[in-house]
Symmetry: C2
Subunit: 215 residues, 2 copies
Amino acid sequence: MNTKHQKISVAVDVLLFTISDDKLQIVLTKRSSEPFKDMYCLPGVSLQENETPEEAAERSLRERTGLTDIFLEQLYTFGDTERDPRSRTISIAYYALTDPDKLLSSNLNEAAVLMPADRILSGRIKLAFDHKKIIEYGRMRLKGKVSYSDIAFEFVPEDFTLPQLQKVYEILLGEELYKANFRKMISPKVEATGEMLTGLAHRPSRLYRRKKARP
Amino acid sequence: MNTKHQKISVAVDVLLFTISDDKLQIVLTKRSSEPFKDMYCLPGVSLQENETPEEAAERSLRERTGLTDIFLEQLYTFGDTERDPRSRTISIAYYALTDPDKLLSSNLNEAAVLMPADRILSGRIKLAFDHKKIIEYGRMRLKGKVSYSDIAFEFVPEDFTLPQLQKVYEILLGEELYKANFRKMISPKVEATGEMLTGLAHRPSRLYRRKKARP
DNA sequence: TCAAAAGTGTTCCGAATACACCCATGA
DNA sequence: TCATGGGTGTATTCGGAACACTTTTGA
């Protein structure tokens, strides 16, 4: 805080993950103006003088997807000097997680779409700015966090079956898991609701709920 | 990126950890002007238009401690609206690690001091801005990373003994470790130099070096 | 009655924990 | 010769990986 006291633009971009269609998906919006007109990018806002970065991220989420009160965490701050061709802009990136039911039931802005993460990461879809880099970083973080935290629960509804939850873990980790071992690992964290999920051409599965306290 | 395109001040603050005197220590500088005149704070600079946040962090390190080429990683971006009483300023915080020998042999700026982390975290030393919060966050990250990465090596010289390295682990983790088990855990990561550290009133200890490749 | 997926008990293995002991030096 | 800390082998425990099996439904 001793050199020239410059002011620069600060964006807050949100990387909203969900899992639907057995794939990890990301919410993107289409740019309506230059630069990168008509290309997809992450939903973002410009940080206002009177709001915190987290509030800006919540605002971005609310405006684009109608979602509130979902998992939201700061990801990383991207500050390459050339990342925005208009003017020097840094981006404080956040990532958010939601189960797809919440996403579809809320009023998803017409300009927002769901895109499979694989399609973006394989480079088949080009994104504006350095947003592909942000997604790569977020994908890594997500994978890293699965094993030592409970973020996987953010992708399923309040009541879920263990096979559903196992599928979420498998998608996030990118590998198949053994059913018996997965259940042993997860069982201290969940409790049966007593309900069943029926209607499929095989044995019905119990519904579970995330266990609250840890006494 | 659709609301008012405001510009705000961006600081880059560096949390430089080292271990000396068997304690985790942090480099602080004393503020020479208002606000918070004469209080300690983290060394920081104002992000310039033509540099990345990482470059700014390196610049701050170089100016205050003369250190270059040490471990440096982005920590978190702090953006409370009231964190700087002068004007809206966000801080991109980085943390850096070094062994104390490098720190002392380099020209430590006269305004910079080493302060034990405990004294700051216990609240006995008041810091300017929200820098205590930054340190709390950095301390957590440091502790979290010890177990699943090799950051502990950053705190010892190139050649070190296993008891020295064990002490580093113990300080970072805040708990004592069993010698035999620590050695089994660490041995795949180190190789003996063949040298010994002698001169103490007990059996000399072998010197080790960090193993490079992982074939 | 059979395919399909849910659900469970048991063995196996390796890594982390705990324990017990020996070794080399300076004073 | 002994206090001090360096250094090492072995038993034990625990959790994850792997395996084998039973159960319940719709078609």
